[in-house]
């Protein structure tokens, strides 16, 4: 640990932005969520609780806004003053967008949140000192802080319930930040297996918990670099470019017939999650 080492490696540690000379290779994990297919059933959110050892905080803490759902389903209504929401609700699964130029990463004083070369925004629990700057700087507000020590809190994991905890995921104690990881434990397991076999992870070999449970396949997840992956095809079909802050479809005059978009694109965080706009029939 010398300054040379610091100077040599710093840029490598800190920069995996979508810049031309640093292409993602062989992996860039990304997602596409079809809001037209999403029915808002919450299966993904519960699957996330099961996979990632999320604590159930209980009514009182939920009221204080201390809930820990990495994946939340937002429900929006039409905003014109109709008497009834006669085109239904808009459901919006929201989790960490794994931004390429993540606002959270640069501000962490201890470097507990970093960018990995496979395009994930990592969160290292044991490095976190709980300054919460990352959450303060997150435009999507998808980071969740352990306000209490849930492992020792009554009725969070009482006896036997703790048998359900996933051994591949750390159970977080008080004072650390956490967030959606794209089920990194599954990704890493798949990557390591693939490396051992001298190949890259195949499409469909690894699924996130939310994707796996989604009854309508609204969530697709995969390697954006892999031309065979569904995610790659979807992003391409929607002409959404990871490295751009304004997509082709937004530039077209009079709008386009594409429906892929990323949230708050103009903030230049380059999120890794593309949403597909919800569609409603014009004939009824």
């Amino acid at each position: 640990m010398s300054v040379t080492n610091l100077l040599d490696n710093w840029a490598a540690v800190r920069h995996f932005h979508p810049i031309d000379d640093k292409p993602h290779d062989p992996y860039k994990w990304a997602m596409a969520i079809d809001l037209d297919a999403c029915i808002g059933c919450n299966a993904c959110a519960v699957a996330c609780y099961a996979e990632n050892n999320l604590p159930v905080v209980g009514r009182e803490k939920f009221q204080h806004g201390q809930v820990m759902h990495w994946m939340r389903i937002e429900r929006y209504w039409n905003e014109d003053d109709r008497e009834f929401p006669d085109q239904g609700a808009e459901f919006m699964p929201m989790m960490c967008q794994q931004c390429e130029a993540a606002p959270c990463e640069t501000v962490c004083p201890v470097g507990a949140t970093n960018h990995t070369q496979d395009g994930l925004n990592s969160q290292i629990y044991n490095r976190c000192i709980g300054s919460r700057y990352c959450s303060a700087n997150c435009p999507y507000k998808v980071r969740y802080f352990n306000w209490y020590d849930y492992p020792t809190t009554d009725n969070v994991w009482p006896a036997e319930m703790n048998y359900q905890l996933n051994p591949d995921v750390t159970v977080r104690g008080k004072g650390v930040m956490e967030k959606c990881t794209f089920c990194v434990q599954r990704l890493r397991a798949a990557e390591v297996t693939a490396k051992g076999e001298g190949r890259i992870v195949r499409e469909g070999e690894v699924q996130t918990a939310c994707q796996q449970s989604c009854p309508t396949n609204a969530i697709s997840f995969g390697n954006l670099v892999d031309p065979e992956s569904r995610v790659h095809k979807q992003w391409k079909a929607q002409q959404v470019d990871l490295a751009k802050d304004e997509q082709e479809k937004d530039k077209q005059e009079g709008g386009s017939d594409l429906r892929g978009y990323r949230i708050f694109e103009d903030l230049r965080a380059y999120p890794s999650v593309m949403y597909l706009e919800r569609v409603r029939e014009s004939a009824v």
Partner: protein, 459 residues
Amino acid sequence: MKDIREDIAWAKINQDVMKSLENPRPLYWVILFFAVLTFGIGIGCEVYQYQMGMGVANLDNPHVWGLYIATFIFWIGMSHSGTLLSAILHLMHADWRKPIYRFAEAMTTFSLMTAGLFVMVHLGRLWQFYYAVPYPNERWVWPNFQSPLLWDAMAIFTYLSSSVLFLFVGMIPDLAIARDNMHSGWRKKLYTLLALGWEGTDRQWRNFRVTYLTIACFLIPLAVSVHSIVASDFGMSQQPGWHVTSFPPYFVAGALYSGCAAIITLFIILRYVFKFEDYMTLPILKKIVRLTFAIAMVWTYLNCVEFASVWYSHDAVSKDLLIQKMTGPYAPFWWAMIFCGSIVPLVFAIKRFQTNIPVLFATSLLLNLGMWLERWMIVSPTFSHGYYPWTWDHDQWPSMIQWGIVFGSFGWFTLLFMVFCKMFPSVSMYEVKEMVYHRTLHLKNNGTAVEQTVEQGVH
């Protein structure tokens, strides 16, 4: 009006100041008692928070920062006026600063210490704070040098160490006086130790002047940069209401403002408690009041600049936030901030109030309240009305624990400050003598013969 009486004898100066180390008015003990009490409450709250987790402060996702950060900025800001008085005015040869710069510098040091506590209190895992310190470690990991929070920690630490040095160096001649005035006891030993063998020789004086000047020069850019860095905690982020270019000067102005207001408060208290009426004179108070008024107007101007730039920008989100501050759940506090910060100082423009101690005391407290509210209004509304509408306005109101720690910090500061004033000469004796001497020179030059009744002083 004269800043100080020119007929004041050097021996009397020593006598008066040394008396402050012995028997202050009873009010001193009352203040000290309350300081210990509130500090105790604060400690209790912090221990509870440490045990239970940050949740007891009633912070939430996404409202992750609250009064701790606001009060942290408040204390950092408070520290700036000490430097202004002791260093900037020193370089500008403003003589009137001489009787008051010592306690102002002490205020700088102690408010920085208090601010430093908030960095700790705020951390979710206080026991791991050393991860943020760049030192060679067995983990082979550096902290993140990109983070304004890390700059912040370093800047504060640097500022604190420099301020302590500055305070201490400036005190050496006076410590020697104290040493010589004490006959025995632990205090004598303490002063002897701290006076570093000061004899008042020419050579010592020469070196002293150079050292003092050097530190003063070093301190000024440091002070400005410290608060600019605190401002960049916000300015460097992407959030509406924070991502403002004018934040560094705005923060510095705010810092000087609250610091000056605090100086007025402490001026009045010390003047009474330690019977410093001859040194902390009303004309000096008047000068600080005028200075404060000027800074208040600068702050008001910068406030308007911020509003205007938000208003005329095309940033709908920031604009939204500004409207929300004025009309939303934080509106009472926001308007209170405007009232206390921009309307109340108008009192200072009225000549008759410029030396009216009760009015000034009340006003200075209001100004500080306003400045504290300002920091809160910078921190909190952005959380409850940021980019993402789904997470807005989670009725976040600080819990008693959070308030307890905030009040505890005032107790801690007062405790340190009051103990300092009782332990060390809070009026710089050698500089007051200098001031008196300048005064007589001035009179002489004007051809008014004043009979020198100066008896031989110590130096």
